[in-house]
C-alpha cells in the first residue's frame, strides 16, 4: 500500500458503478458500499485520511463519514491483521461450543480476543449472530463463512491463511461458504 490515499482505476470504476445506483443528488447512499471498498483497498481499516478521501469522493462532510463508520461493526477504525477472524458468540453458536473455538484460537495464536498477532497476520474478534446458527460454531474471515467448525478445521484454516499471507476483505470475490 502506498502512502497516498487514492483509489486505483479498478476500484474507482467500482465506486462509480455504486454511485450510479442512486438518484441524482443522493450519492450519499453509496457511503456504506464505498467504505467497504475503501477498507479493502487501504489495508483493512479506515484511517481518518481514508474517511476524508471517501467524503471528498461523495461530496459530503467528513463528519458524515465518521459518524457512519463508527456506527457499523464491520468498519475497523484501528489497524487489524491481514486476517480478521470473527467468531460468532451468540446463543446458537454458544450452545454448540463457540467459547471453545475462541479459546483454541487464543492458544494457537498466543493472543487474546481483540488482539493482533505480532506478525500482523491475525486479529481475533468475537461478533454477534452472523446467520449461521444451523451450521454452528462458525467464524467469518473476509468474505468467507467457515461453518460446522472443529478444532482440526480451525487449525487447517489458520495454516492455510498463514501460508497465503494476504489481506482478507469482505469484498473478496474468492469466497468460501459451506452452507
Amino acid at each position: 500500500m502506498g502512502n497516498e490515499i487514492k483509489f486505483n482505476e479498478e476500484a474507482m470504476a467500482t465506486v462509480n458503478k455504486i454511485i450510479a445506483r442512486y438518484p441524482q443528488g443522493k450519492q450519499k447512499s453509496a457511503l456504506l458500499p464505498v467504505l467497504h471498498v475503501a477498507q479493502a483497498e487501504f489495508g483493512g481499516w479506515l484511517s481518518p485520511e481514508t474517511m476524508d478521501y471517501v467524503a471528498s469522493i461523495l461530496n459530503i462532510k467528513p463528519i458524515e463519514v465518521y459518524e457512519v463508520a463508527s456506527f457499523y461493526s464491520m468498519f475497523n477504525l484501528k489497524p487489524v491483521g491481514k486476517c480478521l477472524l470473527e467468531v460468532c458468540r451468540t446463543s446458537s453458536c454458544w450452545v454448540r461450543g463457540a467459547e471453545d473455538v475462541v479459546k483454541h484460537i487464543e492458544k494457537r495464536l498466543g493472543i487474546k480476543e481483540g488482539e493482533t498477532t505480532k506478525d500482523g497476520m491475525f486479529t481475533l474478534k468475537t461478533v454477534e449472530c452472523l446467520g449461521s446458527c444451523g451450521t454452528a460454531p462458525m467464524l467469518q474471515c473476509g468474505a468467507s463463512y467457515h461453518e460446522n467448525l472443529t478444532m482440526e478445521k480451525v487449525d487447517a484454516l489458520l495454516d492455510e491463511y498463514r501460508a497465503a499471507s494476504k489481506l482478507r476483505s469482505y469484498t473478496d470475490m474468492d469466497y468460501k461458504n459451506t452452507l
Partner: protein, 447 residues
Amino acid sequence: MGKKLLIHNDKIPNIHTLNVYREHGGYASVEKALKSMTPNDVVEEVKKSGLRGRGGAGFPTGMKWSFLAKPEGVPRYLVCNADESEPGTFKDRYLMEKIPHALVEGMITSSYALGANTAYIYIRGEYFYVSRILEKAIEEAYAAGYLGKNILGTNYSLDLYVQVGGGAYICGEETALLESLEGKRGNPRIKPPFPAIAGLYGCPTVVNNVETIAAVCPIVMMGGDEYAKIGVGRSTGTKLISASGHINKPGVYEIELGLPVEEFIYSDEYCGGIINGRKMKAVIAGGSSVPILPAELILKNDKGEPRLMTYESLSEGGFATGTMLGSGGFMVYDETTSIVKNLYTLARFYHHESCGQCSPCREGTGWMEKILHRIVEGHGKPSDIDLLWDIQKKIEGNTICPLGDAAAWPVASAIRHFRHEFEEYINNPSKIKDVKHYYSVNQLAGA
C-alpha cells in the same frame, strides 16, 4: 410431506442460474403479471392470499401494500429487507444463496404491483458473498429482458440494485434500514409518517422481507384463494423455519403453517429430535426476541392442546404461557443448557446492537448485560432477579422501535419460566461457576 412453494427446488444442480431456474418454472409470475394482470390485480391476489410479513412482525402484506401513497410524479420504491440479523434466523440467507432468482423474480412481480421503477435489496454486510450471488442473478435477469427498460416488451421498466450494509442488527427495523440505505447511521425514525407515505428519500416506499417477496411468485401463479387454503386460519401458506441448537438436523425447513410443533422437533423429516437422545429443556420459537418457553409449554398450550406452528397457536396464552412465531428462528435447547448463561449471550447481543437513540434501551440493555454477567460469574445478589425484572419492564414499550421490546422479552420470559435457575446461580455460585453448560465442539463431532 407438506407442500413446498419456496425452496422445493433447492437441491436441483445449478438452480442458481437463470436457465435452470427457468426450466423449472422460474419467472412465470413475471410473465403472468406483466402480460395478463393489472398492478391492482396482483395486489388483490396478495390480499386474498392472507400472506403475512415473514420478517417477524407478521403484518398482512396485502394491507401494507394498499397503504402505499401514489402521488402523481413522485417515484415509489420497493426495498427488500435482507438484513436478516435476528439470532437464530438464517432462512433468507439460504433462499438467496440457493435460489437467488426466486427473490429477483419476486422483486420484479412485486415492484410491478406497486408501480415502483427502482427497487433495492438491502442485505446485511456480513452476507457480502450472498450479495455477489444476487448481483450475478440480477445481471442474468437484465440480459434475459426481465429487468431494465420495457420488460418483456411491455411498458413496464424496473432497475434493481443490491445494497450491502455495514453490520448492525438495528437495520432490520424498516426505518433504520431506510436511513442506512440513505448512507446514514441506522437510527430508527419516529413514526408516523410510515414508509408507505414517506420512506426512501421521503418517497412512498414498501419494505418487505426476502421470504415475503419470494412468496408473491407462487401466490400470483396459484391465485390468492388457493394459497390461502394452505395453513390454518389466519396463518396461511408456507413458512421457512431456521432450526438450530441441540437438534439432530439443524437447517432450513419449509413447513405448511399448522404443523404440530412436536412433529417439527421430533420427526425425521424436520429436526430429527434432540442430539444424543437427551431431553429437551426449552425452545425459542421465533428468533431470539420472542419469549423462551420450557419444553412442556412449547409442545402444548396451557389448556393442554398441542401447539401448532402458526402465528396464533404459538402466541396462545399471551406472554404468561405463550410466545410468537416471529421470524421462524427456532432454537432448541437440551437439558444440559444453562438458561441463565444463554440469556447472558442474548443480553450482550441486544446491548451491542442498541442504536443508542432512546435512553431506556441504551442504558437498560447495558445494565441487564452487566447484571447477568455478574450472576454467571458467581457474584449475583438475591435482589438481582427483581432488578432485572424491573429494568426490562421499564424498557418495554418505551422506545421508538421494537428493539427495546426485543431486548426485554427474553429477560422477562427467562425469569418467568426459569426463576429457580437464577436463584441457583445466586445461592450456590461455587457449585455453578465451573460447570460447563454447553457442548464442546469435539462432543458434537462425536454426537
